[in-house]
Subunit: 195 residues, 2 copies
């Protein structure tokens, strides 16, 4: 196994990267601008030291608290709850939401042994109670685990004066009825909007 | 732009890696086993110093000549001509060919200003003449550039006592007539094999 094969084997362990793509990437690195590969090595090597979780929201950040938590222009009475830090980036890119975030770090999944105690749920509940949060937008994926976690949060916050909402589920924009699964279609019926 | 964004921007410059995949990979690196990322940084950083082109065949190798050129069990009267070093790996994985290789480092492409002089063609012709090569298998892709380069090689070797062949072109194994383009279909007719 030479250096090219070793790099290929390592790259093939990345999610979504198969053996062929890994080989193609290795050959690309060999021919690429040395400044590019040097930058990649530098950033990759320094990533873990540079990035930490925000102690308030759990988002990945270089500063603590993160730029979102300290942004004075954001609505501090609105919290969007997501499963993982990646979701914060995706929602930020849509430029639709201008409140704060809370990263659970997972979803309740009894079969995998993940209970509420393994997630940041208690910290979230304390925050909702202590900071006078007006609305909690639950933005977990519309899956069994996402729904379970949403239900649990709703139950735990019974009696607390906070509005709880869940992202709409239905047909994707530009989608086609023909290629939509039965569950999504039935959700889009139940969630239909009056015009 | 924090360290995560910088790594994502660098990864998004890789071939076949879009912005979303790059972001997914960056988050993966953040959560991955530190030993894994350390190994990746090490191999990536050392790649260019470890790997060179074989002075005989042009394949990427840690030793010069490469393990294929020095393998005593290979048929030294047979040379498979490929466009790029990646192709050597693909052919080796098929375990069908047991001769030597020759990497051209490109194909003749007049519109892009790549002529025979830019490739290793003269070195190949010298080798065929000097080493008593019995057969030259042209394994360039079945494209306009591949065909042009094959034709040029054939012309340059007129009168030299060497058999020249070209990889068969036709329907892929497991393929379907319905999804085959017209050119491939017409080639598979012309190259039909008697049963």
């Amino acid at each position: 196994m030479n250096a090219l094969d070793r790099l290929t084997a390592l790259l093939a362990r990345l999610p979504g990267i198969g053996k062929k793509t890994a080989a193609r990437l290795s050959y690309y690195m060999l021919d690429a601008d040395p400044a590019y590969t040097a930058a990649l090595v530098h950033e990759l090597g320094g990533l873990r030291d540079a990035i930490h979780q925000c102690s308030l929201c759990g988002n990945y950040t270089e500063t603590d608290p993160c730029p979102i938590c300290t942004d004075p222009d954001r609505d501090r009475s609105l919290i969007c709850v997501v499963e993982k830090a990646q979701d914060v980036r995706i929602i930020e890119e849509a430029r639709e939401f201008r409140g704060l975030f809370f990263v659970l770090g997972g979803l309740i999944a009894p079969l995998e042994g993940i209970g509420p105690g393994d997630l940041g749920i208690n910290r979230l509940i304390d925050r909702v109670r202590g900071e006078g949060i007006r609305e909690l937008i639950l933005a977990m994926n519309p899956t069994v685990e996402g729904d379970t976690t949403a239900l649990y949060l709703q139950k735990m916050l019974t009696g607390v004066p906070v509005e709880i909402s869940r992202l709409a589920s239905g047909l994707p924009v530009g989608g086609d009825l023909e290629y939509t699964d039965r569950l999504t279609l039935s959700r889009s019926f139940r969630g239909r909007v009056k015009l």
